[in-house]
């Protein structure tokens, strides 16, 4: 009989202890980050959306080969005067990219011509938009700050389809 009451007492005490933990946290400050209003700062090494600098690229194809998901493609033309390859276009399919840093690590230029930005809010509204294209004739990108709108760094690269429809060349 005594054991029976002891067991009930122990059980009750275990319940009270559990209730105590939840009650304690009822009055603790929350850990939530209210996302659209406050944003976390990504870590130094954070692998965000890929950024590309067309003027630095030497069209060596290393990133194309290093990419495990075949999301990078480029076309280069041999320049007879400088004996170098000139970049024609450089495309990244962000739908395929799995943010692994292999392209950045293999990149031969200094500073890296393709690298991860700290941009984590990359969004597209259509499947075609996922393919972003860079061309060397576009202006040089500015330095990428975290929290900067992703659109700004993508001004250098645009979906090929969209570009043709809106660019001034298209109107000619």
């Amino acid at each position: 009989m005594f054991d029976y009451f002891c067991a009930i007492g122990n059980m009750g005490w275990a319940f009270v202890k559990g209730l105590g933990v939840t009650f304690k946290y009822l009055f603790s400050p929350a850990v939530t980050v209210q996302y659209p209003y406050e944003k976390l700062t990504p870590s130094e090494l954070f692998r965000g959306a890929l950024a590309f600098h067309p003027d630095l690229c030497i069209s060596c194809d290393m990133c194309v080969r290093a990419c495990p998901s075949n999301c990078i493609s480029l076309e280069a033309k041999r320049n007879e005067q400088t004996k170098k390859k000139d970049l024609q276009w450089y495309r990244i399919d962000f739908a395929k990219c799995n943010y692994c840093r292999l392209c950045e690590e293999i990149c031969l230029t200094k500073p890296k011509s393709v690298h991860h930005s700290r941009e984590f809010e990359l969004t597209f509204t259509s499947r075609n938009d996922f393919v972003v294209e860079w061309r060397p004739e576009r202006p040089q990108p500015k330095a990428l700050e975290p929290g900067q709108e992703w659109v700004k760094f993508l001004t250098q690269g645009r979906p090929p389809g969209r570009r043709r429809a809106k660019s001034p060349e298209g109107k000619k």
């Binding site: 933990v21 946290y25 130094e44 090494l45 954070f46 290393m62 080969r65 799995n98 292999l102 690590e105």
Partner: protein
């Protein structure tokens, strides 16, 4: 026929076709008058992914069970046959997405065996650090989701939403990603630890210890939780061994087998830690082994932080064109769910000829058919939760 309102025969026909299908015809006997067939999954809140378990029920009691896997098959092993060696690491991240570091590690060990590369000491210690952190993160997922399966929601938000998140932040600072790290590389690791990281990790160890006490109060010694898990889904020593179960599930059955102890890889031989062991092999033991393993992992992390040497982080491995000599290698580590083995065949080219992953949760899943029988529907969820499967790894 109105497709939205088919006559009764059609609905019965689907149940019949499930039963008479080639796999279930052989594995499960026909339904008797009082039995019914219940499809648990692939969309079900507590099958931890896209697992389907076909249950034969007599009222609430399970009289037969058939796990059906393959809904998350992505062909990782086949894909790796036309990826370069470093690219396969990215695929192994996606195998067991709850402890990607350990997957990276197992694969890299196999390639290092082929290449016969020495890994620098600092890289080994960093591997231990991130690996153990990742193991804790994985066990925290079990604690949280097991709580949810049993019906307690709050431990999930403490373990999964707070502590695991902190580990992910720590690993993010190291590797730049939160889940798919691609951090452990052939011959070393991707990057050195950032400044101030070791202090943060040290603080985290103390924090985690305090949190474990809270989990105990909230979940481990809650009488309802004990009632739900003790003596439920007993996996005996013998059947655990005969099924080839390894890792925490095996240790819960009382078999002392831990690769970190038995066949130390890396620098595990230098650490002082104990093997968490269970007695009965029931759900509670499987849970408790993981909970205790977190403590042991914290001990290892503390020792590794103390002994962390300076030096290189990458051995002598070519930057591009890794071309191991022809041959084969098998490396296994103690993953968060058991023996995580990677078998590699190289034909001397840039890509593996064949890669095979010994996925621990796939083997644990096979036990289900045996240990589900005779328990209630509510216990099915508890047992499924306690054997801790990750469908990404099961289906690969």
């Amino acid at each position: 026929m109105n497709p939205l309102n088919p006559p009764a025969g059609v609905i019965n026909a689907t149940a019949d076709s499930i039963l008479s299908g080639p796999s279930f015809e052989t594995k499960m006997e026909r339904l008797s008058e009082t039995e019914m067939l219940l499809n648990m999954g692939p969309q079900h809140p507590s099958t931890h992914g896209v697992l389907r378990v076909v249950l034969k029920l007599d009222g609430e009691v399970v009289t037969g069970a058939m796990p059906d896997v393959g809904y998350l098959h992505r062909g990782v092993e086949k894909l790796s046959e036309n990826r370069l060696y470093p690219q396969v690491i990215v695929l192994t991240d996606r195998d067991d997405y709850l402890c990607a570091m350990l997957n990276n590690w197992a694969y890299c060990l196999a390639v290092e065996q082929l290449l016969k590369v020495e890994v620098p000491a600092r890289a080994e210690y960093i591997r231990v650090l991130v690996g153990e952190l990742n193991r804790i993160a994985s066990h925290l997922v079990l604690i949280g989701t097991f709580g949810i399966d049993i019906g307690a929601f709050t431990p999930f938000l403490y373990a999964f939403g707070r502590e695991r998140e902190m580990i992910l932040d720590l690993l993010d600072q190291v590797s730049g990603a939160r889940i798919t790290y691609n951090y452990i590389r052939i011959g070393g690791v991707m990057a050195d630890l950032p400044a101030g990281w070791t202090e943060k990790a040290g603080k985290f160890v103390a924090h985690m210890r305090a949190c474990l006490k809270e989990y105990d109060d909230l979940l481990t010694y809650n009488p309802i939780f004990l009632d739900r898990t003790r003596g439920v889904g007993i996996l005996s020593k013998e059947s655990a061994v005969s099924y080839g179960v390894a890792g925490p599930n095996l240790r819960a059955s009382g078999v002392p087998l831990d690769l970190r102890k038995m066949a130390p890889y890396g620098v595990y031989g230098k650490f002082d830690f104990e093997m968490a062991l269970g007695k009965n092999g029931d759900c509670f033991d499987r849970y408790l082994v993981r909970r205790n393993e977190i403590e042991q992992s914290l001990r290892i992390i503390e020792q590794a932080l103390e002994a962390l040497p300076a030096g290189d982080i990458l051995g002598k491995v070519p930057k591009a064109n890794i071309r191991p000599p022809a041959g084969e290698a098998y490396a296994h580590i103690e993953g968060a769910r058991g023996w995580l083995g990677v078998y590699l065949i190289s034909d001397g080219s840039l890509q593996p000829y064949r890669m095979h992953v010994r996925a621990p949760s796939f083997i644990s899943l096979a036990v289900l058919q045996e240990i589900l029988k005779g328990w209630k529907v509510a216990d099915v969820v508890a047992i499924l939760g306690s054997i801790d499967i990750v469908l990404g790894e099961v289906d690969r």
